[in-house]
Amino acid sequence: MAERTLTLSIGPQHPGAGHFRLIVVLDGDIVVDVKPDPGYVHRGAEKMAEYRTYIQNIPHLERPVIIDSSGILFPYVLASEELLDLPPPPRAQYIRIIMAELNRIISHLYWLGIYGVFVGHTTMFLWPVGDRELFIDLAQMIAGARVTFAFFVPGGVRNDIPDDFPDKAIKVCNYYEKRLKEYEKIFFYNPLVLKRTQGVGILKREDAIELGATGPNLRGSGVKSDVRKDEPYSSYDDIDFEIPVYKDGDCWSRCMVRLGELYQSMNIIKQAIKKMPSGPVKNAKRGVLKGIEGEAFARTESARGTMAYYIISDGKPYPYRLKLSVPSFRCLSLMKHLLVNQHVADIPAIYWGLDYWPVEADK
């Protein structure tokens, strides 16, 4: 057996989205064993957070997932608000929803672009990356930055939305809903793409639950689980939206879940703009913010799945301990399960189909 196999190292130079290595053992072109090797971009985000105040943590904690920077910050502000006793005003909650959903679209479009390259469909790289610019422009109107927004703060959001934002956002969403129909024809229902993705990397419902998959990977296996519906936070219960669920558990199902989320995110943005109340956007205290003694836990649905923070405070301006639970880390166990007994040529389709973000997993 030992003579017959070949050990191949995929990475660590950037297989898609950050430094990460897959050690693959091959027999012919069938994968016999897989060993994911994370840790190349570990920076100790949790330890660094213990030396920074609650505000200083904001630009630093969004660095692990710059592509979904509001998604990783959302549970942090929810948890630290409990400790700092600064509840957000209602208008801020709706602005947070708009920003989080814009970020989900930006993140999914980046994923879609790279997925197009990985299955050999160059058009699907150029279209989403071009159209992503529309949503980045919208986010820039609100937050003033293109990728790392640093927009959520404990007690609300940093500024109100500009007056011309609602019209522009609805215009962009209406255009993009039509545009996604074109994506479906050229990519999602294209027979060549179906051949590459349907029936590849099947994750059964029981396995998905046992291996701890979250987010779109779990919903692609037929489990209807979404933190936005299960434990509604930040006024998500006022908004009427569906959770796309596909039963097959293959790469194509996971793609379709993300496509469905793009439609739903635009639906949520439009509803949030309509239902947004007027009023202040921030509860503020002067001086350095000090947490009350205690602990807080918050979890939200980020673009890649369930993001959770557990913060312990001992009454100082710094968190005593900050634990960050990220969805990408759970993909590592899925990878070992899915890649065995597959062809080498299917590795990119399965690997990036999970939307694994190495920097987020390494923290």
Binding site: G130, L134, T148, D160, V172
Partner: protein, 165 residues
Amino acid sequence: MSLAIDLISAINQAIKNLFKRRITLRYPEVNLDIERGYSYDPKAQVGIAGYKGRHILHLEKCTGCSLCAIACQNIANCIAMVKLDVSYPQNKKSIFPQIDYGNCVFCGFCVDACPFYALFMTNDHELSSTDKKSLIMSPLQLSIPPVKKKGLVQLEIDDRGPYHK
């Protein structure tokens, strides 16, 4: 049969796209119209939406309190207070912030920290240079407002797709 239909509709979609407008911004010739920079109202304790670009320092309002430098600690550590040969009545020590754009992350928390309406951000984002030293901007350089650019365009959307006009 359905395979053939799906294939034809995919190719058809690609051909249709040939007649769409391009979203590409021809950047050095034209610039995106960004109205204003991020600013902050210390009385209401809330920001005013805008682009987070290079800072602008109002020398006649800065008191040299160093709150911006303290806010930047542990984030980027890019603000240093330096002494200038100018005299303003509100700034007895004549110290003003100097910003190192090699380290700045453009989070804007220094703007939130300023209680005297002295430090804001502008829409200027063209800060690249060939050496590290010229990335460090002195208070006098920071006090100059950015040059208004020519060839400003905005993103428009019509039936033939988004384009810049």
